[in-house]
């Protein structure tokens, strides 16, 4: 049996093990469902503190932007092609960040760092399951830095929504240091975790 014949036989055996094609949107739905699920559960379960926000309109805009990153980012990360959409999601995440900062009320219970470490740790915990799910899903793809970044931002966005509506500290320094920086750290962690995990396929 020649080399290619052996490879053909092995590929046919693999095909026999996976007789049904798995559409890309199955993974996208799983990822978006996880990210949005975390955000929505936190919105329902946690007591809202709206004094953090100087403007109701900006609060709603920031929340909508983050939820769009959580859900839309999952689809953008997983769908084949869509490179421009992935860049758009990065831009949307940056835009949502600016809106969150613009809405900062400056009201802080006991100074700007009150509850700071707690917020950062909570955001990490909220994002744990989405990051693990996104790593699992992306391990079926060839490594792609932009895809990983978008998936990481998307995984962290759900937890950030919950934190954003629950935290009573509206000082700019607190929002930057303990809400937004942890989001970036979570995203970077997701990218790093994806790099550590091998790829099950080399398909884009």
């Amino acid at each position: 049996m020649s080399g290619l014949d052996a490879i053909r036989a092995a590929a046919q055996a693999e095909l026999a093990r996976t007789p049904r094609a798995r559409p890309w949107w199955v993974d996208a739905l799983a990822l978006a469902g996880t990210n949005l699920g975390v955000g929505l559960v936190l919105m329902v379960v946690l007591t809202p503190h709206l004094e953090q926000h100087a403007s109701e309109a900006f609060r709603q805009l920031g929340t909508a932007g983050l939820l769009l990153v959580a859900g839309g980012g999952a689809f953008a990360a997983v769908r084949p092609g869509w490179r421009t959409v992935r860049w758009s999601m990065v831009a949307l995440a940056a835009g949502s960040t600016l809106v969150v900062l613009a809405a900062a009320s400056g009201v802080g219970p006991v100074g700007p760092l009150f509850g700071g470490a707690g917020c950062g740790v909570l955001e990490g915990l909220y994002s744990l399951i989405p990051v693990l799910v996104s790593t699992f899903v992306l391990s079926r793809f060839a490594p792609d830095l932009l895809r990983s970044v978008v998936a990481g931002l998307s995984a962290g966005a759900g937890g950030l929504v919950g934190l954003h509506l629950h935290c009573p500290n509206g000082t700019l320094a607190h929002l930057v240091a303990f809400h937004l920086v942890p989001w970036v750290v979570v995203s970077a962690g997701a990218v790093g975790l994806r790099r550590l995990v091998g790829s099950a396929t080399w398909a884009p």
């Binding site: 290619l4 053909r8 590929a11 046919q12 049904r20 079926r140 060839a142 490594p143 396929t201 398909a203």
Partner: protein, 181 residues
């Protein structure tokens, strides 16, 4: 079955995604030799290329649900092969080259029938950075358009043209008077 050999790649892929294993068989028969040749050229080793061909077609099987209707099959297939080759290159961190810096004999089993010319082309290809070599092998030897190569490597068409241009310039310099790429 009799209509399979005449079907285009995309029609075969659609049938494959719908569960027709014979369509995969037809795609494999049509493309596996060329993919192996390509992977041999970029990896520099026939043995490594066989492993990469297997990884490529395993990926085609496992990820066929991600092949979009309306997309072209050949660029998708070569994107998979290129990703597999890049990963292998990263893991080994070194290219398989002979002591004099050329790719080994099986790497360029090409239409170049002159052994001396083949050796010269092998040596010249081995001197190119991986990204330029990919662009040239895909364009010159596999006959893909720059637009198709751009979709394979995830760059703009202009960026791929720049890579290929630089690679061709190097090849022209190294192979001056011997071979016109």
């Amino acid at each position: 079955m009799s209509d399979l050999p005449d079907s285009d790649d995309e029609a075969l892929m659609a049938r494959f995604c719908a569960g027709d294993a014979r369509a995969f068989e037809a795609l494999f028969t049509r493309h596996a030799p060329a993919v192996r040749r390509y992977l041999t050229r970029v990896s520099g080793s026939a043995a490594a290329a066989d492993d990469l061909v297997q990884a490529t077609f395993f990926s085609v099987v496992k990820a066929r649900g991600r092949f979009l209707s309306g997309a072209r099959f050949k660029p998708w297939l070569y994107a998979i092969a290129t990703n597999a080759a890049r990963d292998a290159h990263r893991r080994t961190k070194s290219e398989t080259v002979t002591d004099d810096g050329a790719l080994p004999d099986e790497a360029v089993e090409s239409e170049l029938r002159d052994p001396g010319l083949e050796r010269a082309v092998r040596a010249a290809l081995a001197k190119l950075p991986e990204a330029q070599r990919e662009a040239i092998v895909l364009h010159r030897f596999e006959g893909l358009s720059f637009a198709e190569i751009a979709s394979i490597v995830g760059l703009t068409e202009s960026a791929v043209k720049v890579r290929a241009h630089r690679g061709y310039e190097t090849l022209r310099t190294v192979l001056k008077g011997v071979w016109e790429p």
